[in-house]
């Protein structure tokens, strides 16, 4: 049986608020990378998947999604020629 008291919740919220400044760089990196990958997706041709597929991966798979797109999803110029 799980008991969560009001004191517990207050403590957890206080701790999360205390840790919030430490999360700022992580949030900036995460959303910055997502926006960067989306811009790259719309500026370049996509490989292996349609653009909407990559967009879903970039948006819904945190960090790993944009990185996977940047590694394998961007079509190389020579292949385009």
């Amino acid at each position: 049986m799980i008991h969560i008291t009001v004191i517990d919740i207050n403590f957890i919220i206080t701790e999360i608020l205390r840790l919030l400044p430490f999360f700022i760089p992580i949030i900036i990196i995460q959303y910055g990378l997502m926006i960067f990958a989306l811009v790259q997706l719309f500026k370049n041709e996509a490989a292996y998947l349609p653009k909407w597929g990559w967009a879903l991966i970039i948006i819904f798979i945190n960090i790993i999604g944009p990185v996977v797109f940047l590694i394998i999803g961007k079509k190389k110029e020579i292949e385009n020629d």
Binding site: I16, L19, F22, I29, Q40, I63, V67, L70, I71, K74
Partner: protein, 255 residues
């Protein structure tokens, strides 16, 4: 020297264009930020859902154990990122016929290989240093206890730099041998993870590069005599594999 300088500049431009700096930065530095926060936050969130004995284990993290957890995660995730980002180091140059023009203009294969190796070794080493210092800053703010100091963190980062230099030389050589970069990437990944198993065996572990990782996490006893053979062997592996890569690139038909 001319080929080296030209290719070094070319590598910088290409890394920017293909976002390799960004991917390597994320793969190495991001976890330095995330790891200590997760260690701090998870026990709080899971407090009521975990059995008491496991909850106690989570709440007893010191600065030392938090740093060791980061090292372990960096090895597992960093290796994955490095192997898949740099898997086509030389094989792409050959398969995409990027070497026809430089070779026809008299480019030296040794310069090309050395420029690639030194460029990525410096890049990865720099990111490792940033990651270790960032992690140290976060750990100091979030945890207490333990003997972790900036000196220990820097010593530990040196061993990680050397380990990834070895891994990069293996990747470089395999990439010169194999036509498909993905095979080189997977091989390096499997090799990196498999060699870690040998850290359980005292007789052989000092002769394998993965022992560097074990010692990096051995807070308080990082630099000792047992490391001498590992460091010598690591440098030998680097020199031999870079040399073999140059030989291979000399023989390869780029057209």
């Amino acid at each position: 020297m001319k080929s080296f300088k030209a290719y070094f500049k070319k590598e910088i431009l290409e890394s920017v264009r293909t976002n390799k700096y960004l991917i390597l930065f994320i793969g190495i530095v991001f976890w330095a930020l995330l790891d200590p926060l997760m260690l701090k936050l998870l026990p709080l969130l899971m407090k009521n859902y975990l059995p008491p004995d496991i909850a106690v284990m989570f709440s007893t993290f010191t600065r030392d154990t938090a740093f060791q957890t980061f090292l372990n995660d960096l090895f597992q995730i960093g290796t994955l990122f490095i192997a898949f980002t740099l898997m086509g180091l030389l094989s792409n140059e050959v398969s995409l016929k990027k070497l026809v023009f430089p070779y026809s203009r008299g480019a030296n294969p040794a310069g090309v290989v050395l420029a690639k190796y030194i460029h990525y070794t410096v890049t990865i080493s720099l990111f490792i240093l940033i990651a270790f210092l960032t992690n140290y800053f976060y750990i100091n703010r979030l945890f207490t206890g333990g003997i972790l100091s900036i000196e220990i963190v820097l010593k530990s980062s040196l061993l990680y730099m050397l380990y990834y230099s070895v891994l990069l030389s293996i990747l470089l050589y395999l990439s010169s041998l194999l036509k498909r970069g993905i095979i080189a990437g997977i091989t390096v990944l499997v090799l990196g993870y498999t060699l870690s198993i040998f850290n359980q065996f005292k007789v052989v572990r000092a002769y394998l590069p993965n022992y560097l990782l074990l010692k990096a996490a051995d807070i308080g006893y990082i630099f000792d005599n047992s490391l001498i053979s590992t460091v010598i062997i690591s440098f030998c592996i680097i020199i031999l594999l870079v040399f073999f890569s140059i030989l291979r690139m000399k023989k390869i038909d780029v057209a």
